[in-house]
Symmetry: C2
Subunit: 159 residues, 2 copies
C-alpha cells in the first residue's frame, strides 16, 4: 500500500478492509490524542462510540458480543475506562445482575471528538466516490457481516 497499485495485482478483501478500517482508526485516535484523550485503550473506542450511538441504556452484553471479547476482558476494559473517567457504572434496577454503563462528561466529550473525526473521513470519502457507491458499499459490508453471523461463536461460548 506504500507502493500504490503495485506488487499485488489483486489485494484480498480482508486486507483492504483492514486498511480501510485503519484509516478511521488512526484518524479517530489522532483526534482524541490531540484533544487530550490519550489514555483510551484500543477497544475503548468501540465502547465509547457505541454508547454515544446507542444511548445510555445500551446493554453491555451486546457490545461485548460484537467485539468478540470474553466477558472478563470486557469487565477489565470497562474498569479502566471507569478509572480514567470516561464511564460510570450503575446497577440495572430491574435486573440486579446486570450493570449499566454510561458516559461521563469526559466520556461524552471524547465521543464527540471521535465522532467528528469519523465524520471528517466520511465526508472525504463521500466527496471521492459519491453517494451511490457509498450506499452500495454499505450494503455489501452489511452482507459480509451477515455471512459471518451465520456461522460464528463468541470466544467464550460453550460448545
Amino acid at each position: 500500500m506504500n507502493t500504490p497499485g503495485a506488487f499485488f495485482e489483486y489485494i484480498p478483501l480482508p486486507v483492504l478492509l483492514r486498511h480501510a478500517r485503519n484509516t478511521y482508526g488512526s484518524a479517530m485516535r489522532r483526534a482524541l490524542d490531540d484533544a487530550g484523550y490519550d489514555d483510551i485503550p484500543g477497544n475503548g473506542l468501540y465502547i465509547i462510540g457505541g454508547l454515544a450511538l446507542g444511548g445510555p441504556d445500551i446493554p453491555l452484553g451486546q457490545l461485548i458480543r460484537e467485539m468478540r471479547l470474553s466477558k472478563q476482558a470486557a469487565g477489565q476494559l470497562v474498569d479502566t475506562l471507569v478509572t480514567r473517567g470516561y464511564l460510570e457504572r450503575a446497577m440495572d434496577k430491574d435486573d440486579r445482575r446486570k450493570l449499566t454503563i454510561a458516559l461521563t462528561e469526559r466520556g461524552r466529550a471524547a465521543a464527540a471528538t471521535q465522532a467528528a473525526a469519523r465524520e471528517k473521513v466520511d465526508a472525504e470519502l463521500l466527496a471521492s466516490v459519491g453517494q451511490d457507491d457509498l450506499s452500495r458499499t454499505r450494503r455489501t459490508l452489511a452482507v459480509l457481516c451477515d455471512i459471518g453471523h451465520q456461522t460464528e461463536r463468541a470466544p467464550d461460548d460453550e460448545p
Copy 2:
C-alpha cells in the same frame, strides 16, 4: 449486529468494516484450526497470506509498515512463525542487513488453507451482491485506504 437492523439506525462505517473483516478473520482462523494449523498468532495470517501473494521475495519491511507494527514486534512475530515451522529466514545476498522470509512447506500448506477459506467467503459475497457492487466496494475501500495514507505515520516513525 445480533439484532440485525435494530437499535442503530445508522451503523458507523468503521464498525461495519470491523465486522466485515471479522467475517473473513473467523472463517480463515477456523479453517486453519480445523486443518491443524492452530498455532498461528493473530498477525501471522497477514504475513503468511502476504507472502503467499507477493512471492518469496517480498520485503518484510513493507508488510511491517502495512501492519503498523514496530520492527521489534515484527521480529518477534517472525520468530514465532519460524519456531512453529511456517517461515524460514535467510539473508538477502545483495544487502546483508535485510533478511528475507519465505514460507516453508507447512507455511505454504497453511497459506493454501487460508486462501481457500477466504475465497469461500468471497464466493458467498459475490453470489449475494453481484460483481458490480463488489467492484464498486473494492474501489471505495481503496479510496479509503488512500485517505489514510495521506496523513499517517507508523508506530515507531521518527518525527
